[in-house]
């Protein structure tokens, strides 16, 4: 997993609620047996018309917005547990997703792939969205060490929450398997001692 420490980037607004993982990566693209290349089909059916031509109304096809941060509406990543959604976002080039709410499984999948989900209040989300649509060149700064999100242009400096263990993993690029493997002995003892 790639390390994450600090990121300064422009952001892409997607003020749609309940974006489910079927939209992030439709099921017909889940046939691959490795992790690479999913970015190509990220938001496939919103990004492209049925005939394969890009939908110019969709924000990822706009020349106005760019960046490694996606700012999305409430309840991002709901639905299917497919980790392919996190792979697709990461493969496309995103490192941070900001929303007022994340679905559980998606959040875990993102963190396991070096993609940082940042939950902010509805009001903050709106303020960020307003600012980036007003000036698409606005940059946001994400500092994981300090757990801080800032947007100087509007005087925003907010701390965000992240589980301490997950933070340590992201900062160092560690993952859960390494940790669990180091606990083998305790796991074997548990197996021997259980009665039910």
């Amino acid at each position: 997993m790639e390390k994450f420490t600090k990121l300064t980037s422009r952001a892409i607004p997607m003020p749609i609620k309940d974006i489910d993982t079927d939209q992030i990566i439709p099921a017909r693209f889940l046939k691959a047996t490795d992790k690479a290349g999913f970015g190509e089909n990220l938001f496939r059916d919103w990004r492209f018309h049925k005939d394969g031509n890009p939908n110019t109304d969709f924000v990822l096809n706009s020349e106005t917005y760019t960046g490694k941060i996606l700012v999305a509406g409430d309840n991002f990543g709901c639905g299917s547990s497919r980790e392919h959604a996190a792979w697709a976002l990461e493969d496309y080039g995103f490192r941070v997703i900001i929303s007022s709410f994340f679905a559980d499984i998606f959040k875990g999948n993102a963190l396991n792939n070096g993609l940082l989900p940042i939950q902010v209040s509805e009001a903050t989300l709106e303020a960020i969205l307003n600012k980036i649509s007003e000036n698409p060149e606005t940059e946001l700064v994400v500092d994981l060490e300090k757990q801080e999100l800032s947007l100087d242009a509007i005087g925003l400096k907010e701390s965000f929450e992240i589980n301490e263990y997950k933070k340590m993993c992201l900062l160092n690029g560690y993952d859960d398997i390494d940790f669990l493997l180091s606990k083998k002995e305790a796991i074997e003892i548990f197996e021997k001692q259980r009665t039910n």
């Binding site: 489910d20 046939k31 047996t33 049925k50 309840n75 980790e83 263990y165 398997i177 669990l180 796991i187």
Partner: protein
């Protein structure tokens, strides 16, 4: 301390707690399928580590399999490769596979309970969000991502924060024609699609106590559609009777010993939940969804709400519906009875009992897809096959089928499909397809009438 059902099962599986961090939870059973496992097997290979407890893993092929001519090679090259990869991986790592052609093959959440793999008091996971289905047995069961599939392969454990607890109580009697699917669609419509995020739900009250195991599975299956990781129902005599005698269930004395333990699992009187909701069974009626998430549901006889909101608007535009209109009488050309929500024998019995002696409407293509090979066999043994075929319905072979637009079974763009599955997201059943979620009875009625019809009217006709 007074404990909930969830606390009891969770606490019995905690191996260790990381200071200021997650807990290490031991997983009893790990179900896998072709779509979310290949990258996890690769992870083991890359790190050169073995599969830690292969006997606790059960595999099947379901998402990507055709539902016609399963004896022939799969025609889609990528699907074929994925299904073959599962066989190869299972062979290499020594995992029991109920693949295509095996008499136990089926949708993972249908085949595991019917084989007795699922038992009360267990922890179970699968790289599939509808793993919540198994909670019907008083099991902690939830969906995981592929990185976590690899973690369980490597250690039989997961690193998790203990979720908060919620209890949803529904008391009273359900009216005729109101099925378990309506109960859960009603609950999600009331609470919304993210009300359960961060929680594990327990369903309590006489409505669930009086439900069959099939019905309980339908309810727990859709817990994820309100954002909850899982849902549970306390094990009782209905549960024990269902598990008893199944292939992988404990037998004889071992079974009695287990039952004695299972009886200790229900929530203690006075145990506290972080969140509680109560509903009255009398308020629940046959439901249908009109939008593009499972929370956008109404009673069939109600009108589409008049919410003013950009996302709501986008959703209605996709579905081709107007604010405030009634869905009754809308023509529907496809119906699908299947998926891990409603592809068990009871679901087909309900559908067949309505269809018997009737014909599907000319405009309708009606797909009946059993959840497993065993369900398919039973459909035949009980004579339901004849009922479906005489009425003009297509009876297919076991798999996820038109639930997800991944295999060959898809709904064409722009068409409406009344579906017994669990998700009505944009494009879920095929690019541009418009899904209306409902019970197997509503799907059967729609097929016969060719349009959306009130259940009471249809039953009294």
């Amino acid at each position: 301390m007074k404990k909930t059902l969830f606390d009891k099962v969770w606490d019995a599986h905690v191996v260790d707690t990381v200071p200021n961090g997650p807990q290490i939870l031991y997983i009893d059973k790990h179900l896998i399928h072709e779509v979310t496992s290949p990258q996890a097997f690769s992870e083991l290979r890359q790190r050169n580590i073995p599969l830690f407890r292969k006997d606790q893993v059960v595999a099947t092929a379901d998402h990507n399999v055709p539902t016609l001519n399963q004896h022939l090679p799969i025609t889609d090259a990528l699907s074929k490769k994925q299904v073959e990869m599962l066989s190869k991986n299972c062979e290499e790592f020594g995992v029991e596979l109920y693949g295509l052609g095996h008499p136990y093959q089926g949708i993972v959440h249908v085949m595991a309970p019917e084989l007795g793999v699922t038992q009360p008091g267990m922890t179970m996971v699968c790289g599939d969000s509808h793993t919540s289905t198994h909670g019907a047995f008083g099991t902690i069961a939830f969906g995981i991502g592929t990185s976590q599939v690899a973690q369980v392969f490597a250690s039989q454990c997961l690193l998790l924060q203990k979720p908060k607890s919620m209890r949803i109580t529904v008391n009273g009697d359900l009216a005729p024609g109101v099925l378990p699917k309506d109960v859960i669609l009603y609950i999600i419509a009331q609470l919304g699609t993210n009300s359960g995020t961060g929680y594990f739900v327990e369903y309590a009250g006489d409505v669930f106590e009086n439900m069959s195991m099939e019905g309980r599975m339908t309810v727990c299956n859709m817990s994820i559609e309100m954002g909850a990781r899982g849902g549970m129902i306390a094990p009782d005599q209905t549960t024990f009777d269902y598990v008893k005698g199944r292939e992988f269930a404990p037998q004889d004395e071992a079974f009695d010993k287990k039952v004695a333990y299972w009886k200790t699992l229900p929530t203690d009187e006075g145990a506290e939940f972080d969140q509680e909701y109560q509903f009255d069974a009398a308020d629940i009626a046959p439901m249908i969804t009109f939008g593009t998430n499972p929370g956008m549901g109404i009673k069939i006889t109600e009108n589409v709400p008049t919410t003013e909101d950009a996302s709501f608007e986008k959703s209605l535009r996709y579905m081709g519906f107007e604010r405030g209109e009634s869905l009754l009488g809308k023509p529907v050309n496809y119906i699908f009875i299947g998926s891990c929500t409603n592809a068990r024998i009871e679901d087909f019995r309900v559908a067949a009992s309505f269809i018997k002696g009737k014909q599907k409407a000319d405009n309708v293509t009606a797909l009946i897809v059993p959840g497993s090979q065993q369900v398919a066999k039973q459909i035949e043994a009980e004579g339901l096959k004849t009922v479906f075929e005489e009425a003009g319905f297509q009876l297919r072979q076991a798999g996820c089928s038109a639930c997800l637009g991944m295999n060959e079974d898809k709904i064409p763009a722009g068409e409406y499909c009344v579906s017994t599955s669990n998700r009505n997201f944009e494009g879920r059943q095929g690019q541009g397809a418009r899904t209306l979620l409902a019970s197997p009875l509503v799907a059967a009625i729609t097929a016969v009438e060719g349009k959306i019809t009130d259940v009471a009217t249809a039953l009294n006709a």
